[in-house]
């Protein structure tokens, strides 16, 4: 028996086949002989869905009977990827399905290849949410994801002449077999309008929300099965629909086209996911999207709670809501509005419930990434919510003022409303004030939240702040994506690691075992060969599976410093062709990642990577010792092919800028060694794997801070004093990599040399080169490398999202396991 599969009888196989044939005929409307690969995929998925629905109904019944406390994870992004393989593994029927299909003359891998990724997220934040859902279900916790059913997920990336081109990603939400539409649970959501002050029956001021428009949110549920199949929770995604009622009034006036336009405009709200780094300040549609998610969620959550309870008194005992970043921060105002306006609750009691229910996860330290919304925009879109935010702020500042009397500067710093030419609502502050828990996502990050990001709030409420280091689900990132390694691990230590990743520690004793090392390296090689084929098919570059696979796979952003990697590659190249230095080991530099469509510098770095690759890959003097490739359209399913094949994991962000990272965890879990800065969760990876099994280099957070504060950093000093740096920068600035587009990469040089090199590339260059040299030296000793890689796998138990979710459940949500 292989990992994660239960033995199946011939009867089970026949039943599965029967179900697949049934769905080809009655769901797809096709004769078996006419069915395409796509039809077969749909039918297989629908056959699996039957089991998911059975499990989901049973699970819901169990929760109801227990009156279980439920957790709602509100997130604008859920980067789910493909579901079929994951569902088969978690249901324990992968081999059953495989055997059933083989018997029908169908290859399960081809079937799986037909599934489109559900790319409803940008990167780490969305993928984290997806891993959390897997862990919640596996741990038997009543936890649900709440998000938006975007018609178009993150754009599809094509590389055209080395440049990124964005294509719409229509992930077929309407045809996907994984979503169950729930039109009868649609929510009516008001938006826009104005406040009219009127006296209530007792002569008191009563602000009334008038002249709103209506949106309708239709829920769609994606079942989420935990490993073992006992618990099936779901991800609830809302689609925006126009209100029939609202359309009717225009329709009745005889203006058919206006009615259709109105319908289209309402449905725009769930049309597209905004790429990160591109949400311009004041982007109205994004604000409406955020409100749409929040309002639909709160309405749905309150409805479900009231179905089993007569009053709202026990709301916070039965409901926990986690805000994934500030995107759902309006939950604070919406829950207050619901309790006060719709359920006649007194402010004080409503506030108690709101605070006790909500918790907030911070994901960034970059000041420019902290959300703010202009007051005039909020007033237009959500007039009643703005009133409530003002009242929350008034009461909060009273509290601050009574603790620190006569400290006007502190009041200004801590106010939810930022003063200025245009007043802004600080969403992070709103989230902190309205939540009983505020957490960062790695130990270092959580410390920086307290000491640098919001020290005033930490001083006021130290008990509110805590850390929950991110994690990833080993079911997707090891069991499913790396079946060869999974089988080797299971063969050695049994399969308990699938639900208890700390068990991987037992692999330590195999780290020096030559036979195990040989098997381990053989598997890595097989995974590299599989990836080499993908690279050839997609990037049209032939790479050598015997070379060191050095990978940097993540969103393109200057702080993540793909540029530092490219600078090192150029340095290697020039050493080779100009200094005639032989490389210690042949290397393949693999990049994958998307840049936000409007992010000029990130897109130019993509072009640079491709151009450098174009030159190096064709240069006969390199003799195949180096290859550089950008694999297009980075997404979950591609990551699942790169991660198992990676040998070196580039985690080289400027210290203090990466909140946690989760790619670093996936890669280490699959036996890639990390080369990285002391940033995000790299510190914890260092602690776990031991310093001899990781390559740490570069400036630390406090050193960078000191250099910034003292104005001590001058990149030109490095340029003038280090001939290697000078040669690399001159190479980028010259036409060496852009012979047909003179000066193309000059903005990169200008940015580094003349605009302060904000991300400290040059300061970290030499230490990075030295760390890379050490990597190359050690890689030559295959046994030593295998030992280090095995120890990395063995020591990544901490980075399971099961551990993260257990901590959230115990310390923030007060959720009972195994209901």
């Amino acid at each position: 028996m292989k990992s994660g599969n239960t033995t199946s009888s011939a009867k089970d196989v026949r039943n599965f086949q029967k179900s697949v044939r049934y769905h080809v005929k009655y769901s797809g409307g096709k004769a078996w002989d006419d069915a395409s690969q796509g039809d077969i995929y749909q039918a297989v998925a629908l056959a699996v869905r039957e089991r998911l629905i059975d499990g989901m109904l049973e699970t819901d019944e169990r929760y109801k009977k227990e009156d279980a406390k439920r957790l709602y994870y509100l997130s604008m992004e859920f980067l789910m990827g493909r579901a079929l393989g994951n569902n088969l593994y978690n249901l324990g029927i992968f081999d059953l399905a495989k055997d059933a299909l083989v018997d029908m003359g169908i290859d399960i891998e081809e079937v799986r290849g037909n599934e489109v990724d559900a790319a409803l997220g940008n990167g780490g934040l969305g993928r984290l949410a997806a891993c959390f859902l897997d862990s919640l279900a596996t741990l038997g916790l009543p936890g649900y994801g709440y998000g938006i059913n975007y018609d178009f997920g993150l754009f599809r990336q094509e590389i055209d002449n080395g440049c990124q081109r964005e294509k719409p990603d229509h992930w077929c939400s309407e045809e996907t077999p994984w979503l169950i539409q729930r039109p009868y649970q649609a929510c009516i959501i008001p938006v826009y309008g104005r406040i009219e002050h009127f006296q209530d029956r007792h002569g008191n001021d009563n602000p009334m929300w008038m002249d709103w428009k209506i949106l309708v949110g239709v829920p769609h549920d994606m079942p989420i099965v935990g490993f073992g199949g006992k618990t099936v929770n779901y991800l609830r995604l809302f689609s925006a629909r126009s209100s029939d009622e609202f359309d009717m009034q225009i329709f009745n006036e005889g203006d058919y086209f206006k009615a259709v336009e109105q319908k289209m405009s309402s449905e725009t709200i769930s049309k597209v996911l905004y790429p990160s780094d591109s949400v311009e300040v004041g982007k109205e549609l994004r604000l409406v999207q955020e409100y749409f998610l929040v309002a639909c969620s709160i309405r749905d959550i309150v409805r479900r709670y009231l179905a089993n309870h007569d009053t709202l008194d026990a709301f916070a005992d039965k409901v926990a809501i986690q805000l994934n970043d500030t995107h759902p921060a309006l939950t604070v105002a919406e829950l207050m509005r619901t309790l006060i306006d719709e359920h006649d609750m007194a402010w004080e009691r409503a506030w108690e419930i709101t605070e006790a229910t909500l918790a907030y996860t911070n994901h960034t330290l970059l000041p420019e990434a902290l959300e703010k919304w202009p007051v005039p925009l909020l007033e237009r879109v959500l007039p009643r919510h703005l009133q409530i935010i003002y009242e929350i702020n008034r009461r909060f500042l009273q509290q601050v003022s009574s603790r620190w009397p006569d400290d006007g500067d502190r009041l200004r710093r801590m106010s939810i409303i930022e003063e200025g030419e245009t007043k802004q609502v600080r969403m992070a502050y709103l989230s902190i004030v309205g939540s009983h828990s505020v957490n960062g996502v790695a130990e270092l990050h959580s410390e920086l939240v307290k000491s640098s990001l919001v020290p005033d709030f930490y001083e006021l409420w130290p008990e509110r702040f805590n850390n929950k280091t991110n994690g990833v689900t080993q079911r997707r990132w090891l069991l499913k994506s790396n079946p060869l390694l999974s089988d080797l691990i299971t063969e050695a230590i049994g399969d308990a690691w699938i639900t208890d990743l700390d068990r991987l520690r037992q692999l330590e004793k195999y780290a020096d075992d030559e036979t195990f090392q040989r098997k381990f390296l053989k598997i890595k090689k097989a995974n590299k060969e599989r990836l080499a084929k993908v690279i050839l098919d997609t990037a049209r570059v032939e790479v050598d599976p015997n070379s060191l696979f050095d990978t940097q796979i993540k969103r393109l952003h200057e702080y993540k410093r793909q540029l530092l990697n490219v600078m090192y590659i150029i340095h290697q190249y020039l050493s080779l062709i100009e200094d005639q230095k032989e490389l210690t080991v042949p290397k393949t530099y693999i990049f994958a990642g998307k840049a936000a469509p409007g992010y000029f510098m990130a897109k130019l770095i993509i072009k640079l990577i491709c151009s450098v690759g174009e030159v190096i890959n064709k240069d006969p003097r390199v003799k195949g010792q180096m290859k550089v490739v950008l694999v297009p359209d980075y997404r979950v399913s591609l990551a699942e092919k790169i991660v198992p094949a990676a040998e070196l994991s580039e985690q080289i962000s400027t210290a203090g800028m990466e909140a946690s990272g989760t790619g670093n965890m996936k890669l280490a879990m699959n036996g890639a060694l990390t080369i990285g800065t002391l940033d995000g969760a790299n510190l914890e990876i260092l602690e776990e794997v031991g310093q001899e099994n990781i390559y740490i280099f570069g400036l630390k957070v406090e050193e960078i801070q000191q250099m910034r504060d003292g104005g001590a950093y001058n990149p030109l000093d490095y340029y003038n004093q280090n001939p290697d740096i000078k040669r690399v920068m001159d190479g980028i600035g010259s036409d060496m990599f852009c012979p047909n587009e003179s000066g193309l990469f000059k903005p990169i040089c200008d940015n580094i040399l003349h605009q302060g090199d904000y991300y400290f590339h040059l300061a970290d260059f030499q230490p990075y080169v030295e760390a890379q040299d050490k990597v190359s030296q050690e890689y030559r000793d295959r046994s030593l490398w295998a030992k280090k890689a095995i120890l990395n796998v063995a020591r990544t138990g901490k980075f399971s999202s099961d551990r993260t979710i257990s901590e959230y459940a115990r310390e923030i949500w007060n959720l009972r396991q195994g209901v």
């Binding site: 008001p190 009219e196 009127f198 029956r201 009334m208 008038m210 002249d211 009717m248 009034q249 719709e342």
Partner: protein, 112 residues
């Protein structure tokens, strides 16, 4: 806008017979109600038991009628249910109008 009216003592009972009170019917509703007020009806029960949907224009029209009645008159609501009741709460109009489940209670409240 179809409405039915009848007197119960000093109280005028107005029942909306349409399923919807929205932008299309709001002006008509307001005009008819103004007619009742100018003919001397100042204690009015609005029976909404037949109404399934009310939008912000419909609610706005009710506020206008209340303003028109001024301090000397009164308009109370009965029979609002489901999404209609939700809309009253959402706008906080339930705090402005007296709301009753049944017509009899509404009339009794105005007859005091």
């Amino acid at each position: 806008m179809e409405i039915e009216d009848k007197k119960d003592g000093n109280v005028l009972i107005v029942k909306i017979l349409n399923k919807r009170l929205d932008a299309q019917g709001a002006t008509d509703f307001k005009e008819k109600m103004s007619g009742y007020i100018s003919s001397g009806s100042h204690s009015i029960v609005l029976n909404m038991s037949e109404v399934d949907f009310v939008d912000s224009s419909g609610l706005g029209a009710m506020v206008s009628v209340l303003k028109l009645l001024g301090d000397g008159g009164n308009l109370v609501i009965c029979g609002a249910r489901g999404s209609v009741m939700r809309m009253f709460k959402l706008t906080r109009m339930n705090k402005v109008f007296s709301m009753f489940e049944g017509q009899r209670e509404a009339v009794a409240a105005l007859s005091k």
